[in-house]
């Protein structure tokens, strides 16, 4: 197994407010980790910090991804090296078609890797296959990015982007929020298709229900910007039954 992500004593501020306070986390290749926690515990801050959002400042600590210090890399370089962030609230970009966007993203990664652009036919074959996996109709792909998509369609589109970009580490920020049960199954099957011994996932969620379809290797409970407990899927089930109070305010 290879160490994919190593977070050491991470402290993150947004403006003047400290959000992440002394986080430690290790993710190996092939592992799926789930982070659960109440609202405002800092889960999304962690996701955006790993992706490189400029408003999230690392005060101290390190995020090491595949032996590289992520704080030294641009947002796009992080992506091109295999870090993928599935957004809690996917952004709409009317006027830029999903197809053009995906093609640009794939070719940016290939360029970074010193490869030629993907041929149009190979791209379209791959796109057709993967959009079917997440139940996205072809006509949606010619629309603007997430333009007019329902909440579920946006989340499935995030998973489509993940499958197309073939990252090494996928961070999925509340991908299950706003999903009906059918959409959740589609999203989960997309995530499970991505999982293999070379890839890792960090799934951020409020609820245990997504984890009924994606079985994590580890479940971490996040509170006040740090992990306060780690366990397996049973911990998620306990949280579903008892809430967070017994851990956050014992």
């Amino acid at each position: 197994m290879t160490k994919i992500l190593s977070i050491k004593d991470l402290h993150v501020d947004v403006g003047e407010t400290a959000i992440v306070n002394g986080l430690n986390l290790e993710i190996e290749s092939g592992e799926t980790h789930a982070i659960m926690g109440p609202n405002g515990s800092g889960k999304s801050t962690l996701a955006k910090t790993i992706a490189g959002h400029p408003d999230y400042k690392i005060r101290s600590g390190k995020i090491i991804y595949m032996d590289r210090d992520l704080s030294e890399l641009s947002i796009e370089d992080r992506s091109n090296l295999g870090v993928f962030l599935g957004f809690q609230y996917p952004i709409e970009i009317p006027g830029l078609s999903n197809t053009a966007f995906l093609k640009a993203a794939i070719n940016a990664k290939r360029k970074y890797q010193g490869l030629d652009d993907l041929s149009a036919s190979d791209f379209l074959i791959d796109l057709k296959e993967k959009s079917q996996m997440v139940d996205i109709e072809q006509k949606f792909l010619s629309r603007g990015v997430n333009e007019g998509f329902s909440g579920g369609e946006k989340k499935r589109n995030e998973i489509l982007q993940m499958l197309m970009l073939e990252p090494t580490l996928a961070i999925l920020d509340e991908t299950d929020s706003g999903l009906d049960i059918d959409s959740m199954k589609v999203v989960a099957s997309g995530v499970n298709a991505f999982r293999n011994e070379m890839t890792s996932s960090l799934i951020i969620t409020h609820y245990e229900r997504l984890l009924n379809y994606i079985t994590p290797d580890y479940v971490h409970v996040f509170h006040n910007g740090a992990i306060i407990k780690t366990g397996d899927i049973q911990l998620a089930k306990d949280l579903e039954e008892r809430g967070y109070e017994w851990l956050t305010n014992p």
Binding site: S74, I75, E76, I93, P94, L96, K109, Y112, G144
Partner: protein, 424 residues
């Protein structure tokens, strides 16, 4: 010179001298038309040039430029035009050095009126419909224009070929093209006007359009970019009942560009859709003014102006929709969105609705701002670098407007021109 304010006396004297000396080869009614326009101009110029429409638009500079140049090339001909315009298969009419030319036999619905034309066509210079805002350019146009273009469809005529009017200005020539479009009952036509300016030139362009019952018009206006040039574009439109008009205007930038549009929806079920994309850069300015009068029941209007403003450029939008008290079942939508690409770019936007009854559906909005940081972040998280991400967002902002161009051919042409301009 450029920064001096206009010397009213000198410029009036120059114009007066022009009116007295230039028209020796013109029929009497043309000279009377010029003299009367000059008298009115003398009375209103001082007052109107200080109104909001004009005071921020480099009007003084434009008037200086206007008077410093010749109004007509003495020996201009079609052979002087060194241009390869796109849109093959269209009927091409050139306006160069103050004169209209066509390189093929013109169909009967197109008439070029030169200085020999008869008095029966004098209505082309009527100014009955112009608004106060348009007085200055209309009067100046009436003082200097000679040639005019009349497009006059027949009842039930549907013109298949695209009519392509190409304005090619010459250095040190001030041109004042005059175009009138009369669409007869149940007729239709597609027109595109392009302005290719040379350095140090000015175009003061006046177009009057009358759409009779049941007619349909697609009208595209493209202003190509040029340094040290000025453009004033005036458009007056009257629509009878059951008419459909679609206007699209692309302004790629002049030293100063102004468009003044006045649309009157006179008949029931008259519909207009007017879109404009203006893209000033450097220290250019681009000003757009549109007034829509809903004078009939069940009329509808949709106005969508977008600005992409870069460097130290300045843009402005003024839009007003008026719905009279007795008019019912009208709908009006007005939107102005602006993208400011630099810290020094500026925009002024004033959308106004004047609604005097309850039975109408109206909305207006205006937004101005720089590129959305969250959208940039989203694109970058997919591996797209800063430069390309910005380009995508600018393009998406533009495409949202151009994707609604009805004609696929024109949509492709407009997108190609925007791309070419951007790469230049």
């Amino acid at each position: 010179m450029a920064n001096q304010s206009l010397n009213q006396i000198d410029h009036m004297n120059e114009l007066h001298e022009f009116v007295q000396n230039d028209g020796h080869d013109l029929p009497d009614w043309m000279n009377h038309k010029r003299a009367s326009a000059f008298e009115e101009y003398r009375n209103v110029c001082s007052k109107l040039s200080k109104t909001a429409t004009w005071k921020n638009t480099k009007l003084d500079l434009m008037l200086h430029e206007f008077l410093e140049k010749e109004f007509r090339g003495q020996s201009a001909s079609l052979n002087d035009i060194d241009l390869e315009p796109g849109l093959d298969d269209s009927i091409k009419i050139y306006f160069h050095a103050g004169m209209f030319f066509c390189n093929e036999d013109m169909p009967t619905y197109i008439k070029i009126l030169n200085h020999q034309y008869s008095e029966e066509n004098r209505s082309i210079f009527d100014q009955d419909n112009r608004s106060d805002r348009q007085s200055i350019p209309y009067l100046l146009n009436n003082i200097v224009s000679r040639d005019a273009l009349l497009i006059d469809t027949a009842v039930n005529q549907h013109v298949e070929r695209l009519v392509h009017i190409i304005h090619v200005s010459s250095k040190l020539i001030n041109v004042a093209p005059r175009v009138k479009i009369n669409l007869a009952k149940n007729s239709s036509i597609k027109l595109v006007e392009e302005q290719h300016q040379s350095i140090d030139s000015i175009i003061n362009h006046c177009v009057d359009i009358n759409c009779s019952e049941g007619s349909s018009l697609q009208y595209y206006k493209i202003n190509h970019p040029q340094n040290d040039s000025h453009q004033i574009n005036n458009l007056n439109l009257n629509q009878d009942g059951n008419t459909d008009v679609t206007l699209f205007n692309l302004d790629l930038g002049a030293d100063s560009a102004s468009s003044l549009n006045h649309f009157k929806l006179n008949g029931e079920n008259s519909n207009i859709s007017c879109s404009t994309l203006f893209m000033p850069s450097d220290d250019r300015s681009s000003h757009h003014n549109v007034v829509i009068d809903h004078l009939s029941d069940k009329s509808s209007s949709s106005v969508n102006f977008r600005g992409v403003i870069n460097d130290q450029a300045f843009g402005s939008f003024f839009g007003k929709v008026r719905v009279a008290k007795e008019r019912r079942g009208t709908s009006a939508f007005m939107q102005n969105k602006n993208l400011l690409l630099s810290d020094n770019s500026k925009i002024s936007t004033v959308p106004i609705l004047e609604i005097y009854n309850d039975d109408t559906e109206c909305s207006h909005s205006a937004t101005s701002g720089s590129l959305d940081k969250e959208k940039l972040f989203y694109l970058k998280t997919r591996g797209i670098n800063e430069h390309d991400a910005k380009e995508f967002l600018i393009k998406s902002f533009i495409d949202e407007l151009t994707s609604h161009i009805k004609s696929k051919r024109m949509r492709n042409y407009v997108n190609e021109l925007i791309l070419r301009n951007h790469e230049a």
